[in-house]
Amino acid sequence: MTEKGTSITCTVLDEDSRYSFGDLCRLCGVTAEMILDMIDEGLLSPGGRTPAEWSFTAVEIKRVQTTVRLQRDLRVNLPGCALALQLLEELEELRRLYRLR
């Protein structure tokens, strides 16, 4: 069964995008506690002083989503996720440099 194509407007998550604490929880479907734990683990470092002022980047949205999946699918704990993300981001950078040779 194929539906008729529909036109959708898209939001680009670019380097200028900033998201509040609430946005991040809603976008990633996670609790505030989970975000606080990730900040404690050094996985996220929001700009702004108080939680009401916090702003997060598009890269941080991806980190939260990847963490959720690694925890759910591979039962990796939070420090393990932090390590995996750090290595994955390094790997991504190395792959990029390799392609540029």
Binding site: T11, V12, L13, A58, Q65
Partner: protein, 307 residues
């Protein structure tokens, strides 16, 4: 409908113990997890693994599956006998732990679908739909100008859905586009999840992108480099004139402002690296020209090497 050999998918023998099955699943799940693996088809493989494990980890489902015996080959055309599940109790329940994903027709016809099973009839049960993630490969020209693409998304149970997506100008590699409400459907009236598209670029014969900047190599003759020249250069936005300053060397970089991947707020440049092409002398007259250059312009290009 194709038969799925779940033992084959997990790489275990048909008499493997539950612990062996668990270990095989965990090892392969780490290897093919879509966040970890860049292998072609990793996502599909990971879904297959989840499906195989969902059946083999559960003694009831495994026993029912084992009734088909080992004569079936993976991918073979298959219809289950009408009474095959008599004496087993698993329909419409027991889906826990394994990763979400679309199960095959084979799985759904044997064990029922996850989404229509356990939650059926309970109106108080509301869950937002799962987010979906996909990669979309576009050309550099499409990234430069912006484009519209039609995506075909699979929705499980063999259903597909076409979605027309507007990709604005100036997207860069690795950036993601969020399509609100275009993920999996929610349960019990809850909203659908979102679709996240990650941008990847197709290989281009001339240009390559580094973040917002577009790099290219420009072949020039020795006299263009030495005397300076105005040269026609391709960019993603069309041809432009580039002034090569006199006394240029191979490897020198020239910047064309704003000719990279730009948005209203961010500008990218095109960076042109000169490559000097030495013409091959074919006639005696041409060889004589090189000899005259050697005489009138003696130079040691290896001075810095101390030789």
């Amino acid at each position: 409908m194709e038969f799925k050999d779940y033992y084959d998918i997990l790489g275990v023998s048909r008499d493997a113990g539950q612990d062996d099955i668990k270990r095989a699943y965990r090892r392969l799940a780490r290897k093919y997890h879509p966040d970890v693996s860049r292998e072609e088809g990793a996502e599909k493989k990971f879904q297959e693994l989840g499906e195989a494990y969902e059946v083999l980890k559960d003694p009831e489902k495994r026993a029912a599956y084992d009734k088909f015996g080992s004569n079936w080959k993976h991918g073979q055309d298959f219809q289950p006998p009408p009474d095959w599940s008599d004496g087993f109790e698993f329909r419409g329940g027991g889906f826990t732990g394994a990763p979400e994903g679309d199960y095959s027709d084979f799985f759904e016809s044997l064990f029922g679908g996850r989404s229509h099973g356990a939650a059926g009839g309970r109106t108080s049960f509301k869950i937002k739909g799962e987010d979906q993630h996909a990669r979309i490969v576009i050309s550099l020209a499409d990234a430069y100008h912006g484009t519209r693409k039609t995506l075909t998304l699979s929705r499980g149970g063999g259903q597909t859905r076409n979605l027309e997506v507007t990709i604005p100008k100036g997207v860069i590699e690795g950036q993601r586009i969020r399509l609100e409400g275009q993920g999996m459907e929610g349960y019990g009236g809850a909203p659908a999840g979102d679709l996240f598209l990650e941008i990847a670029f197709a290989e281009d014969p001339i240009f390559r992108a580094e973040k917002r900047d577009i790099h290219m190599e420009l072949p020039v003759t020795p006299w263009e480099a030495a005397l300076g020249a105005s040269i026609t250069v391709p960019t993603l936005g069309g041809k432009v004139q580039l002034k090569i300053p006199a006394g240029s060397q191979g490897g020198n970089k020239l910047r064309l402002k704003g000719k990279g991947l730009s948005t209203a707020r961010r500008k990218g440049d095109q960076i042109v690296t000169l490559r000097i092409v030495v013409p091959e002398p074919k006639t005696e007259e041409q060889k004589e020209l090189y000899r005259r250059m050697a005489e009138t312009m003696p130079v040691n290009p290896r001075k810095k090497l101390g030789v």
